[in-house]
């Protein structure tokens, strides 16, 4: 996994609550057996005017000019500003894969659904929870300011506006450690293989029916 220490980039605002993972990447694209290539179908049903299916040449499809990511001023955005309960619904990890593949590196919202939040960290996409009034203020600033950028500093746990205003955010220390150092979590867990084996042996003795 790529290390995430400090990033800075253009912000795109997605002003709706409860954005679900079906919206982030619709089911027809889940048939892929790969982890890559989902970016062109991120928000597919909002982004294009036609119905998308795997295998289509997305460059030739009609774009929905009203969808925020299609506005020229947000082209190249790497920070997504969102509303509460972002990523709710299905556990599909294709959702963070699609956001990353599109180019997003961080998502800022007042709240995230648990499974999506978890999946982001496993892939180096940083979900940042900021208070609703701060997110409101950022929405106003982004919409009023073409070229609005934010600096995200994971080490320092801060988001900094172009005016130098700084907002601190909380992040789980273990998750931060893994992300800042680009660590393989499975490798870390396997360092405790003896503990897992000992636990398993004890469990097998106590509840043998679980191991039949």
């Amino acid at each position: 996994m790529e290390k995430f220490v400090r990033r800075e980039g253009l912000v795109a605002p997605l002003d709706r609550a409860n954005v679900d993972t079906d919206a982030i990447i619709p089911k027809q694209f889940l048939k892929s057996i790969k982890r890559t290539g989902f970016g062109p179908n991120l928000f597919d049903q909002w982004r294009y005017l036609d119905h998308g299916e795997p295998g289509m040449d997305n460059a030739k499809r009609p774009l929905n000019p009203d969808f925020v990511l299609n506005r020229p001023r947000y082209r190249g955005a790497t920070v997504l500003l969102a509303r509460d309960n972002f990523g709710c619904g299905s556990s599909r990890e294709h959702a963070p894969w699609a956001l990353l593949d599109y180019g997003f590196q961080a998502v800022i919202a007042p709240g995230f659904a648990d499974i999506f939040f978890n999946n982001c960290f496993k892939n180096g996409l940083l979900p940042i929870v900021l208070p609703a009034d701060v997110v409101d203020k950022l929405f106003r600033e982004v919409e009023a300011t073409p070229g609005y950028r934010l600096a995200v500093d994971l080490e320092n746990q801060s988001v900094t506006t172009p005016d130098g205003e700084e907002f601190r955010f909380n992040v789980d220390p273990f998750r931060k450690h893994c992300l800042v150092n680009g660590l393989d979590e499975i490798g870390l867990t396997l360092q405790h293989a003896d503990r897992i084996r000992a636990f398993e042996d004890k469990r097998r003795a106590e509840q043998p029916w679980l191991f039949e």
């Binding site: 079906d22 309960n85 990890e93 789980d172």
Partner: protein, 469 residues
């Protein structure tokens, strides 16, 4: 000794180790696997040169992509077929306790086949790359959905790295009215606390109305915990749990059964255990529920109306409601009973078990699907449910009424196969999500109980099923 919640007991009994900050290594007993969220995990395992830790924890099936008709013709969509064949190959290579491939007589929706084979047992941790894994909490298991990276993590280590959630108690006391079901409890809870109300919590459902539910009903309620934002929902063990499990294929037998039951009966919250949040509902006040919008929290009662966004003060909620009504093609203040579905879907991991099919068949028996309904589908949750229903003659009740009787699978809950809504079509669905495009691009979903879906099929519009039973 401090009083423990059921969740405390399940958590504590699976702790391999814990850091001072609470980051824990949690042991996983049962790993359910399906074709959509596993290929990248198996590939990652192989690329890293790792072996699966305990293959006999794996129970796998193909359910999301599989067609529900013309099974002899195979899977026509080549991309879907590749995904299902990839699962076949991965299980062949890695091994499993049980695999129910496409066209197997025991194949079905992963959350239906786990319990019906006794592969889900009380006291287990159960995970699957599928958010509706919360279903298995009905057996006092700690069961939750995970992403594909975590699928790989469990394959490689038999553990997950996680922090303990907070505990919420949802108490439903009293007696449900006739025609009011587990699905209505679930939707009423979501209507109360919202789709983010359970975020960060594990929910335990308690109360006389929950105790009175069958295991099928408890599975329906736990299944929808995730729609309230909670990764896990759970119900304590009682005689209903034990009776359901007795004699199931993978349930213990003989002396082990007795030992297991003695342990299982301890899987309940102690008196005085502390919950971080408590929500109480009066069962007698719950009416049949119908969703009107594009989030399960956008729900009202069958005798209610579509809301008027102008009356909603919160601007984010108001815009959400306006957008939802536009998508759903509904005007404010439309009575629910005037909404006319084009299609009916009875199925999904929420409501495709034998009891659901019996309840729907009881409404349909001797009647005809309304002429305005383009398609009415019944998709049993598994091959075993299908066989049982056919033995009881339920298939004939449905087909004589004009329903189609299909092969098991996830089907039109998420429309990865051919079963789907066309743009603008409206569906009365027993599934769990009414998100935009969920049942097909541009499709409009109203979530209801099996009884309500069946009644809407006959009447051609939503009707208060309490008047029919």
């Amino acid at each position: 000794m401090t009083a423990k919640t059921l969740y405390d007991k399940l958590w504590d009994s699976h702790l391999v180790r814990q850091e001072p900050d609470g980051t824990a290594l949690v042991y996983i007993d049962r790993h359910l696997v399906h074709e959509v969220t596993s290929p990248q995990a198996f590939e990652g395992l192989k690329l890293a040169g790792r072996k699966p830790w305990r293959k006999d924890s794996i129970v796998a099936t193909a359910d999301h992509n599989t067609p529900t008709h013309d099974w002899d013709k195979g899977i026509r969509d080549p991309i879907s077929r590749t995904q299902v064949e990839t699962l076949d190959a991965n299980i062949r290579e890695v091994g499993a306790k049980a695999y129910f491939p496409f066209r197997d007589t025991h194949q079905g929706i992963v959350h239906v086949i786990g319990p019906e084979h006794g592969a889900t047992l009380p006291g287990m941790t159960v995970v699957c790359g599928d958010s509706h894994t919360s279903t298995h909490g009905a057996f006092a298991a700690l069961a939750f959905g995970i992403g594909t990276s975590e699928v790989e993590h469990v394959l490689a280590t038999q553990c997950l790295v996680m922090k303990k959630a907070r505990a919420m108690q949802v108490a439903v006391e009293g007696k449900l009215g006739r025609g009011v079901t587990a699905k209505d409890i679930a939707l009423a809870v979501i209507g109360r606390i919202g789709t983010a109300g359970g975020t960060g919590y594990a929910i335990e459902l308690v109360g006389s109305a929950i105790r009175a539910l069958s295991m099928e009903g408890r599975m329906t309620v736990c299944n929808m915990a995730i729609e309230a934002g909670a990764r896990a929902g759970m119900v304590a063990v009682d005689e209903t749990t034990i009776d359901y499990l007795r004699g199931r294929q993978f349930a213990p037998r003989g002396e082990l059964w007795d030992r297991a039951v003695a342990y299982w009966l301890t899987l309940r919250s102690d008196a005085g255990a502390n919950f971080d949040k408590v929500v109480a509902l009066d069962a007698a006040e719950i009416k049949p529920q119908v969703t009107w919008g594009t989030s399960p929290e956008m729900v009202t009662t069958v005798d209610g109306k579509v809301p008027d966004p102008a009356q909603i003060s919160d601007p984010v909620k108001r815009e959400g409601a306006e957008r939802a009504l536009k998508y759903m093609g509904l005007a404010p203040d439309t009575p629910i009973a005037e909404i006319r579905p084009d299609k009916i879907f009875i199925g999904s991991c929420t409501n495709s078990r034998i009891e659901d099919l019996r309840a729907a068949a009881a409404i349909v028996k001797g009647k005809r699907v309304a002429a305005s309904i383009k398609l009415a589908l019944v998709v049993p949750g598994s091959g075993l449910v299908k066989r049982q229903a056919e033995q009881e003659g339920l298939d004939r009740i449905f087909t004589e009424a004009g329903f189609e009787w299909r092969e098991p699978g996830c089907s039109m809950c998420l429309a990865m196969n051919d079963d789907r809504l066309e743009p603008g079509e409206r569906c009365a669905s027993t599934s769990n999500r009414n998100f935009e495009g969920r049942q097909g691009a541009g499709g409009r979903t109203h979530l209801v109980s099996p009884e309500m879906a069946a009644a809407a099929a006959i009447a051609g519009h939503f009707v208060d099923v309490r008047k029919l039973v």
